[in-house]
């Protein structure tokens, strides 16, 4: 049985300053890393003889436009799972809008392919080295990234939408 502390301490020993912001919301070890360390860390966790965190559950993006630090405007979240120890890790990489690049994980996990395409499709995060980084769920000729917060859905509190205009 792995504990969050044990893995966290080992990661600090291994990656030092490059891992930070440790949390464990609902007992799920959450940490942030720099994008340069992302692939080495995924590889380390996968190849570790005891952890064997070798299952990529999910990749998704988050947009924080209101964050005062522009370096933390975008976040890519990796959920990893060790099926041997039933241990999950949540890995976050924060990016700025000016430099939305992150190395691809497709070299380690085949399933990262579409997850990264989805993240690119909705947030515009560029996964460097991805074999085919094109939109996946939206149309090819879409010219914006719809999950970014500046594209709101229709606002129900708007007053300039008069029902009569819509035949209601």
């Amino acid at each position: 049985m792995l504990t969050n502390e044990e893995v966290a301490k080992d990661l600090i020993r291994q990656f030092g300053e490059d891992v930070y912001d440790f949390e464990d919301p609902f007992d799920l070890l959450t940490l942030s890393t720099k994008r340069e360390q992302l692939i080495p860390m995924l590889q380390y966790l996968k190849d570790h003889p005891t952890y064997q965190i070798n299952f990529l559950t999910d990749i998704c993006g988050i947009h924080y436009p209101d964050d005062p630090n522009p370096e933390r405007e975008f976040c890519v979240v990796y959920h990893l799972h060790s099926l041997i120890h039933n241990f999950r890790v949540r890995l976050k990489v924060f990016l700025s809008e000016a430099d939305l690049h992150i190395p691809t994980a497709t070299t380690i996990y085949a399933c990262a392919n579409w997850m990264e395409r989805e993240t690119y499709d909705f947030f515009g995060v560029n996964f460097d080295g991805h074999p085919k980084l094109i939109r996946i769920l939206n149309m090819e000729d879409m010219d914006y990234f719809p999950m970014r917060r500046q594209y709101p859905l229709e606002d129900s509190t708007r007053e300039d939408k008069i029902d009569a205009l819509f035949g209601r």
């Binding site: 559950t57 999910d58 988050i62 939109r135 999950m147």
Partner: protein, 415 residues
């Protein structure tokens, strides 16, 4: 591949036969492009595969998905939590209650609501009924795709009976919107219990008949054994979960590994396959239906007494009679319906064993009425990537069977 045909018509007088060259035979490497989908009756959903065919064999495939993308994650960012339930049951619409319950449990985890045992057991019953409905469709359709319509027809009647139980529980059949945050919307009625018992006693006979028809059927086995195999290693790398992963020999089941909704109270086995081929996937799903029946039996026999919803007035709609008489109930009713209840700040990942695998909900709440970000881990979306690799070198008819056995649900694929 163009083969050289020996037509031997040299001796026919007057035949204009070109002189045979002495040089090496020229093979023309010519591939046929075949467009399978987006709307093709054999794909059971809207997805396109552009296949490169070398004669009968598939060389490579390119998938296009997103035809029924409905932007659920974006819509969810504006909706109060209880309204998101209706989005979830449009994902894997073959087993909507599992999606609904998964979502409720995610929110309950965030809110810290403890659901009473009775509600948990009712949820287990509904989820296992949904699993049976999901698997019987998949296995029945696999029969149809291999040319046997009968099995599908027999099983379909049982799905109808499951849908009648859904109707009893929530009034709907396909997109169920079943249960509420904090419990179930209504208790198991006497009629629902009668229908569940009737189903549990009747279904084994039907399933056995179906298995007798297929499991050792020579024609069926010739079509599915060793078709589309995937190794456990590749399956893990491709993010397989659920029956498809278990067919490859990995005994990962969320119900066992991270029990939710009192699954630890029940005794059931996790079937695993060996080869990860279509036959194993079929057999794993078949056996899972038996295990689901076992769970339903245990749950209905040991159904605890008590309330079917948690004491969480801020999140669970009060009974209608109370709303008419009681001021607090009226206030809560109004606040919940208008979506004025703020959720606590938090970040939660919760997963349930869906019909196709690990269905995950990654919810980030910033303390508002709606999620700040909600991401669905949709098993179909993740494992469908492996389809071209599994199809390499097989014939078109086998490719159809492989897709059918993967049980890719278009709604879940595209969200």
């Amino acid at each position: 591949m163009n083969t050289v045909l020996d037509v031997s018509n040299k001796n026919i007088p007057g035949a204009d036969v070109p002189a045979q060259s002495d040089g090496p035979i020229q093979y023309v490497n010519e591939l046929t492009t075949l467009n399978l989908g987006p709307t093709h009756p054999a794909t059971h959903g809207i997805f396109q595969n552009i296949l490169q065919m070398d004669g009968e064999k598939i060389v490579s495939g390119e998938q296009t998905i997103g035809y029924i993308h409905r932007a659920f994650e974006k819509i969810a960012e504006r909706r109060p939590f209880y309204q998101i339930t209706t989005l979830t049951d449009r994902m894997n619409y073959c087993s909507s209650p599992i999606n609904n319950m998964g979502w409720h449990m995610t929110v309950e985890k965030l809110l810290g609501v403890q659901v009473p045992k009775r509600a948990q057991y009712i949820r287990v019953i509904m989820m296992e009924l949904a699993r049976i409905a999901d698997h019987l469709i998949c296995n029945g359709i696999l029969g149809v795709d291999t040319g046997a319509y009968t099995g599908f027809l027999y099983l379909m009647q049982e799905r109808e009976n499951i849908y009648e139980i859904y109707e009893e529980m929530c009034g709907a059949r396909l997109t169920t919107n079943m249960g509420r945050i904090g419990g179930m919307e209504r208790d198991l009625s006497a009629e629902a219990i009668r229908k569940i018992r009737a189903f549990v006693s009747r279904y084994p006979k039907v399933l056995r008949e179906f298995e007798n028809m297929f499991n050792r059927n020579r024609i069926f086995m010739d079509r599915v054994v060793n078709v589309g195999p995937i190794t456990a290693e590749r399956a893990l790398s491709y993010g397989f979960t659920g029956p498809n992963l278990r067919a490859a020999g990995v005994d990962y089941d969320v119900r066992v590994m991270n029990p939710y909704s009192s699954y630890e109270d029940f005794e059931f086995d996790v079937p695993v396959g060996q080869n990860g081929d279509t036959y194993d996937r079929f057999m794993v799903r078949g056996e899972e239906m038996w295990q689901s029946l076992r769970i339903i039996e245990q749950a209905i026999e040991n159904l605890p007494e008590g309330s079917h919803y948690a004491d969480a007035p801020e999140y669970y709609l009060p009974p209608k009679q109370e709303v008419y008489k009681n001021m607090e109930a009226l206030i809560y009713h109004f606040k919940i319906v208008m979506g004025e209840i703020d959720a606590p700040v938090g970040e939660v990942y919760h997963s349930v064993e869906g019909g196709n695998g690990e269905l995950g909900f990654y919810l980030i709440s910033d303390g508002g009425r709606a999620p700040y970000r909600l991401h669905f881990r949709r098993p179909s979306f993740i494992y469908y990537q492996a389809y071209p690799e599994m199809c390499k070198g097989v014939t078109l008819s086998d490719a159809i069977v492989i897709m059918s056995s993967l049980n890719v649900i278009a709604g879940e694929l595209d969200a």
